[in-house]
């Protein structure tokens, strides 16, 4: 069972009305002819020590949310407050210092490590640059980190191409851990791995969370993974949140029609359980011209006239282990 999280305190991370639009240029003078609304008004909170799952299909803006929160991309609008500091107002020096507290783990373990640096240099670099260790102290810390993520300390003189995908992902985790962050964005961190390796990495992440009291923003399209790891889960559709709920509540009683459809499509390794499959009609609309009103109305099985014209309001529903937030006209 997931350990309970103290919800009363000020959240570690608070994202308010985050927007990220990408310009679409065309024509001779590359004039801006439209905007892809990759993230359109997303608000969420992550408590310290919590795993916050962010799920949705490909192209719904999950990754953009993660990268914008870390300010690896400049946001179009909105604010992110991390440990009480407004991230988008920091100058580059302050931002660099704050980066020690928030890290990222990537999906592709092949492109996330510099092929021309040894593992020791990769893991030791942040420590050296932030002047946290040097000389033999640095070596000792690098070896300790390698050991902590389940790799042999001797590996530090080797190069990334000598390792398997799972081992590389461990190296990536060690690099993220080096600065002792409080918050890590896991961007599809296990999606590129074999199922057995996935399980090992997930367990490692879970152990590390307990040990260092880490908060994760776990971005994935794999519902089984978030079910195993996440305390709360947000479901995204076309750049907007559809539903945010505690993991158990979301899996037992999904409220939003999109969440229901998503979960009915999730394969469960149990032949006796045969749920009703909700098949959605049509394709995901283009984020360049999102539908009016509720963005899901073009495919929603419960569509009502109001859905086509008005954006759905936020509905808060109390549950035994937390509030459920759902953006849907069905519950008004």
């Amino acid at each position: 069972m997931n350990h309970p999280v103290d919800v009363q305190r000020e959240p570690l991370l608070r994202v308010k009305h985050l927007k990220k639009y990408f310009p679409v240029r065309s024509g001779l003078f590359s004039r801006i002819s439209g905007w892809v609304k990759a993230v359109d008004d997303v608000s969420l909170e992550v408590q310290s020590g919590e795993t916050f799952g962010l799920v949705g299909e490909s192209g719904c803006g999950k990754t953009t949310v993660g990268r914008t929160i870390l300010r690896l991309m400049e946001p179009t609008a909105g604010e992110v407050v991390f440990e009480g500091r407004h991230l988008f107002q920091l100058d580059s020096r302050e931002l660099r210092r704050l980066r020690q507290r928030m890290q990222i783990i990537f999906q592709d373990p092949y492109s996330s490590l510099n092929p021309r640096m040894t593992v020791g240099a990769i893991i030791g670099e942040p420590l050296k640059i932030h002047r946290l260790a040097h000389g033999s102290e640095l070596d000792a810390q690098v070896e300790a980190l390698l050991k902590r993520v389940g790799l042999r300390p001797e590996f530090r003189s080797r190069y990334p191409h000598e390792f398997s995908g799972g081992q590389r992902q461990r190296i990536g985790i060690a690099r993220a851990l080096a600065l002792r962050p409080r918050f890590i964005v896991c961007d599809e961190a296990v999606s590129a791995l074999d199922v057995s390796i996935q399980a090992q990495i997930l367990n490692l992440l879970k152990e590390l969370q307990e040990e260092y009291h880490l908060a994760y923003l776990f971005i994935t399209h794999d519902l089984n993974v978030v079910e195993y790891l996440a305390h709360r889960i947000a479901v995204m559709y076309l750049g907007q949140l559809a539903e945010v709920a505690p993991a158990d509540a979301l899996f037992r009683h999904p409220k939003h029609p999109y969440t229901q459809a998503l979960f009915s499509a999730n394969p469960v390794p149990d032949p006796t359980r045969r749920g009703k499959r909700i098949v959605l009609e049509g394709d995901v609309p283009s984020p360049l011209h999102p539908p009016s009103g509720c963005r899901f109305h073009t495919r929603c099985p419960h569509v009502m006239p109001v859905c086509k014209t008005e954006e759905p309001p936020l509905i808060q529903i109390g549950d035994s282990n937390g509030t459920i937030q759902v953006w849907c006209h069905l519950y008004t």
Partner: protein, 331 residues
């Protein structure tokens, strides 16, 4: 899923050490050497280039500082002697006779030793090749890097990228060789002017290469990771991006040396290059063109030398491309 995960849950992370066997330990350098050595032609060309380098250095020393092979002595009785022929002992004074007792590559229309002139010329050719390419590399890497990394920065109404790349396009539009001819015609014809002019007119390919590499690298996760770790921009560029962008640049530099040597030969052939009596392969060739039927060695020897060296540089470039290209590697 949860059950399978729980089964595999390990008490200590240490017990998953032997997850998968490691491939044999090999640094990128060892791997590069191994792949390069498999390419026979490239290795042979490399040997040729090393010999050429030795010849060029020896040429500088032995024809100018310690004159063992004298490229300038005129021996009119011994003109148009074919290769490997002996000097005319009773007509040529003893101190003018060649060191080896024969003319290795024959003599030209003034009785000058072609071997000595070729030695002198090899240093000129190589140094022009290397220095011109050095200049074009520096310009190309700086402009390409700026355009690739700071491309989105606005300067007034246009971006840095637009500014630099349109300038590159403009430079590419010039017929380079005629531009060089014009410039060389206006400047005093010295070897240094030629190096600089060739360098200043051949950086465009490198700039485009480096820009493309930087654009691709900027999206790579390890560069994003470096940003997320709060590393300074300087370090991201020089530690993470440049080493990964340099491989194709090195390849094009190798081939660029060949092009520069060819350009210099062509200039000298047309009489715009290094001026006589200073010998270069191009002007030996130019001098020989009037005697194609009487003294074929006069154009054959410098022509072959240019051909072999240019070919060798190109083959080494190909070998480097193969050995350095990470996409051809098995990960």
């Amino acid at each position: 899923m949860r059950d399978t995960i729980e089964q595999q849950r390990t008490p200590h992370a240490d017990s998953v050490l032997a997850e998968e066997p490691l491939v044999p330990h090999e640094t990128p350098w060892q791997e590069f050497v191994r792949i390069f050595l498999q390419n026979r032609l490239a290795v042979a060309s490399c040997v040729v280039l090393v010999l050429l380098l030795i010849a060029a250095l020896a040429g500088k020393v032995l024809t100018e500082w310690v004159v063992v092979f004298d490229p300038e002595t005129v021996r009119l009785p011994d003109k148009f002697r074919p290769p490997l022929s002996r000097p005319n002992d009773h007509l040529v004074p003893a101190h003018d006779r060649p060191v080896l007792g024969m003319y290795l590559f024959g003599t030209d229309e003034l009785g000058r030793d072609v071997f000595a002139r070729m030695l002198q010329g090899s240093f000129v050719s190589l140094s022009i090749g290397f220095i011109a390419v050095g200049i074009s590399m520096v310009i190309g890497i700086v402009l390409g890097g700026l355009s690739g990394f700071y491309g989105n920065v606005k300067l007034g109404f246009i971006t840095v990228d637009t500014l630099i790349m349109r300038f590159t396009d403009v430079m590419l539009c010039f017929p380079t060789f005629f531009l060089i001819l014009t410039v060389v015609a206006l400047l005093p014809p010295s070897i240094y002017n030629i190096m600089v002019v060739i360098g200043l007119t051949s950086w465009m390919g490198t700039a485009r290469f480096v820009r493309a590499e930087f654009l691709a690298l900027r999206e790579q996760d390890f560069v994003v990771a470096a940003q997320a770790l709060g590393l300074p921009e300087r370090r991201i560029i020089f530690r993470h991006m440049v080493p990964n962008a340099i491989a194709p640049v090195l390849v094009s530099a190798t081939i660029g040396v060949a092009t520069a040597i060819l350009t210099e030969s062509a200039l000298s052939f047309l009489g715009f290059g290094v001026q006589p009596p200073y010998a270069t392969w191009g002007n030996i060739l130019a001098g020989g063109k009037g005697f194609i039927f009487d003294a074929p060695w006069l154009f054959f020897i410098p022509g072959m030398a240019i051909f072999i060296v240019v070919l060798a540089f190109n083959l080494v470039g190909e070998g480097l491309r193969e050995a350095l290209n990470p996409r051809l590697r098995n990960r």
